[in-house]
Symmetry: C2
Subunit: 454 residues, 2 copies
Amino acid sequence: MSKPTIPQGTRDFNAAIVQKRNYIFNTIRTVFELYGFEPLETPAMENLETLMGKYGEEGDKLIFKILNNGLDNPAKKEQLLADFDKILSGKNNKGITERALRYDLTIPFARYVAMNYGSLTLPYKRYQIQPVWRADRPQKGRYREFYQCDADVVGSNSLLNEIELTSLYATVFNRLNLPVSISINSRKILAGLAEVCGGSNQLINITIAIDKLDKIGLEKVKEELVTRGLSNEQINTIEQYLLISGTNESKLAQLKKLLGNNENGLAGIEEIEQVLNYPIETGNCNLVADFTLARGLNYYTGIIFEVKAIGAQMGSIGGGGRYDDLTGLFGVPNVPGVGISFGVDRIYDVLEELKLFPEAIQRSTKILFFNLGKAECNKAFELMQQLRQSGIASELFHEQTKLDKQFKYAEKKSIPYIVIIGTKELEEGNCNIKNIETGEQKTISQAQLLQELF
Amino acid sequence: MSKPTIPQGTRDFNAAIVQKRNYIFNTIRTVFELYGFEPLETPAMENLETLMGKYGEEGDKLIFKILNNGLDNPAKKEQLLADFDKILSGKNNKGITERALRYDLTIPFARYVAMNYGSLTLPYKRYQIQPVWRADRPQKGRYREFYQCDADVVGSNSLLNEIELTSLYATVFNRLNLPVSISINSRKILAGLAEVCGGSNQLINITIAIDKLDKIGLEKVKEELVTRGLSNEQINTIEQYLLISGTNESKLAQLKKLLGNNENGLAGIEEIEQVLNYPIETGNCNLVADFTLARGLNYYTGIIFEVKAIGAQMGSIGGGGRYDDLTGLFGVPNVPGVGISFGVDRIYDVLEELKLFPEAIQRSTKILFFNLGKAECNKAFELMQQLRQSGIASELFHEQTKLDKQFKYAEKKSIPYIVIIGTKELEEGNCNIKNIETGEQKTISQAQLLQELF
C-alpha cells in the first residue's frame, strides 16, 4: 500500500498542538468549575431520529450517518435494496442507517436533560467539551471534526445566570490574556423594534437582515429590507436603530427614545441595564451593548451574546443566549435556559497570531540521562525514578551509542538538561549535568542532583 | 416526540462518573509524561482503506462505516444502486462509504507514523487516550464506544523500552493504589517451545491453544492440541511447560532445562531475566514471569505483557508487547516498537469494587451564597468573585426564594458550605457561614471569609 492519508477536513494533533489546545481547554474547564458548572459527556453517536429535523434542511444534510452493520445478508437483499432506494430519495431508512455522529452539543444535551429530567438538581449547570462532526465543504478554518465547548444553565429564568455567564466569559479571556469585546443584546429589543416597525410578524425578516450587517453593510441591509416588503418609513426607523452609537449609556438613551413605550423593548432594555450595572469585573474585556447583534438561531428569546477578540481579524470566538424551550421536541416542555460557547479553533488561531501562548505550556522531558553502559544505566535509572517521583519528567537514552547521537535526541526534543554518568562519575557517586541552552556544565553529587530545581 | 433514547452500547457520563474517569486518565497521563511520552490525537474518522484488512475478518465486520453524504442525487441513482449492491455482497464501495470510525488506536498511530516518518524524532514515544468504536453485540462491560489508552515507543529495538514500560505500569498502579500482577513472557520462548515440539510451523497452533488456558483449563488445551495435530510426545512437553511453577527464579530454571539449547528459547529467557533483574521499583505490584501468557495478536515478536488486578475478579486490565513491523502495511518497512495499553473501563470497575477512588476527586462547588435580595446579592457576588479568584468554586443561588429551597440545592449538589448575607450582615460587613456536614455555624467578617480554608 502506498502512503496513507487522512480524511479531508480532519486533522492529526501532534504534541505541541495538543499542549496548546489543552491550555485553552484547561483554562475554560477550570473557570467552568469555579462557577459551579458540572461536566457531562455524551456518546459520539446518537440515534438518527434524535438529530434529524433539529438543524434545518441545510444542517440535516451535513449530518454524518453511520451505515448499519451486517448488511451482507442474502436473505434480506431485496428489502435492503428497496430501503436504500429511500435513502436515494433523501429519506431516512432504519434498515440502512439508524445512527449518526453528533452535529453539535446542544441537541445531545437536550436529549440528556429530557431523559434524566426527574433526577437532575435544578437549575442544572452543565459544561461539555467534546468533538462534533459536520460534512461541510472543508476550507481554511473549517473542519469536519472540531471541538465545541459549551456551558448552559437550564431550569431557571433568572437574569443572574446571564450575569454569571458574562462574568465567566470575562474571567476566561482575562486568564488567557486575550482582550475581547463581549457584545450583548436582547431578542426582546429586536422584538420591540419589529413591533414599532410594522408588527411582530416582521421579526424574522428584520432579524435575518440585521444579522447580515457585518458582512454586507447598511445599504445592502436596507435593500434586503425592501425586498422583504418593509416600507420606507419602517426602514427609516430600522436605520436609525442601526446607527445608534456612543457609550453604552448613550446608546441605551437613544434606544429608549426610538422604542418609546413598547413593552418588549422596555423589558429588553431593562435586562441589558441590569447586566451592565452589575459589579462584574471585566478586566481587559469590554462589555458592549450592541443592538445590531442578532445571532442567527431563531430559538433565542432573551439576552444574546457574542465575543470578538480585540486586535485580531477574526469573526466571533464565542456566543450564546437565552432560550425558552430546550427539550420540548423531546417531550419535556417548558425548560428554559441560557448558554454560551467558546470557539476553540478560532481562539487557538488568535492566541497563535498574537503570540499569547505561554512558553511554560510546552511541557516535555526535563532531563535526558545519557546511556553509557550497563552499570552506569542502572544508577541512572535509579536516579531517574526518584526524579520522576518528584514530578520531573526524565528519560534514559534507549541505547549505548555515540554521545552526539544522544545529544541530538535531547536537542530535537527540546530537553533542557542532560545528565552524564560515566565510569568516573559512577565510582565517585557524582554526575555531570549540562544546561543545553546556556551551555553551563557542572559536576555535582548524585544526592545533589535530586535537590536541583529543574 | 416521545422520550428519546441513546444508541445501544453507548453511555452518557454524568459529573460523578466523568470525575472518576478523569482521575484514572489524569493519573495515567501524568505518568506517561513523566516517562517522556508525548501526546498524539488523531481524528475519529479514518479512510476506510486505512482500517480494512487490519483486524482480521471478524474485526472488519465490527468497523462502523460512515455513509457518504449527498446520495440523493437523481443523476447518479443507477450507479449508486449498483454500488450498494456491492456493499450487500460484503464488498466495500467508495460511492457509498469511504470513511469509518477508528476501531483501535494502533492503526491510526501506524498511519500517523507512516505519514510523518521523516520528521519524527526517533525513538518516537507517543501516548494516545481517545475513544474507539466497535459494532460488537453490547453486553455487560462491553460497549460500542469506549476509550483506549496506549503508549508506544517506535524506532528502537532496545530492551530498555520494555523495562521502562514495566516500570511505567508499576508506577501507574501504585499511584492508583491498586495492587496488580504484571505478567511477562516472550514470544521467543513460545517460538522456542514450538521448535522443541515439532518445528516452528506449530507456533501458531501452540499459541492459540495456550492462549485459551485461562478459560478452558489444561485438559481442554491438550485436547485442542490433539485436534491441531500434535503428537503425544509433543503435548507431553507442552504440558510440562505449562506446569512450570514457583518463584520467577525457579520457573526460569525449569524452563531452561525444558528448552535446552534452543536459540529462540535462550534469547527469550535472556530478555525475561534482564527485565526481572533491572532495579524496577514495583511497590505493591508483582512482576511475574508467566510462560503460559500468549496474547492473541500474531504481530507480537518479543516480550509480551498482561496486567491483572490482585483481589478482584476481573480479566486483564492492561496488556501489550513488542512488534517488529508497525508500518509495513503503510509502505514504511522495518519500524519496530513496543507498546502497552490500559483497559480504562475495567480499571474503573475494579477501583469502584475495591472502593479505591479517593473522595477528594469528587470536586463540586465549595460554597453556596444564599440569595436574599438585590443589595445583598451584589455583595455576595463581589465576595464570590474573590473566592473564585483564589480557586474556590462558588455559586450564588439563582433567585430570591425560600431559604429551605436554597438549602436543598446545596444539599443535593453536596456543597459543603453555605454563606448567608442578610440585611444585618450587610450592614455590619459580616457574613454567616455554615458547614452543612457538621452543622457548625458562625458569623465572621467578610474579610475573614476570604481567609477561611475551604
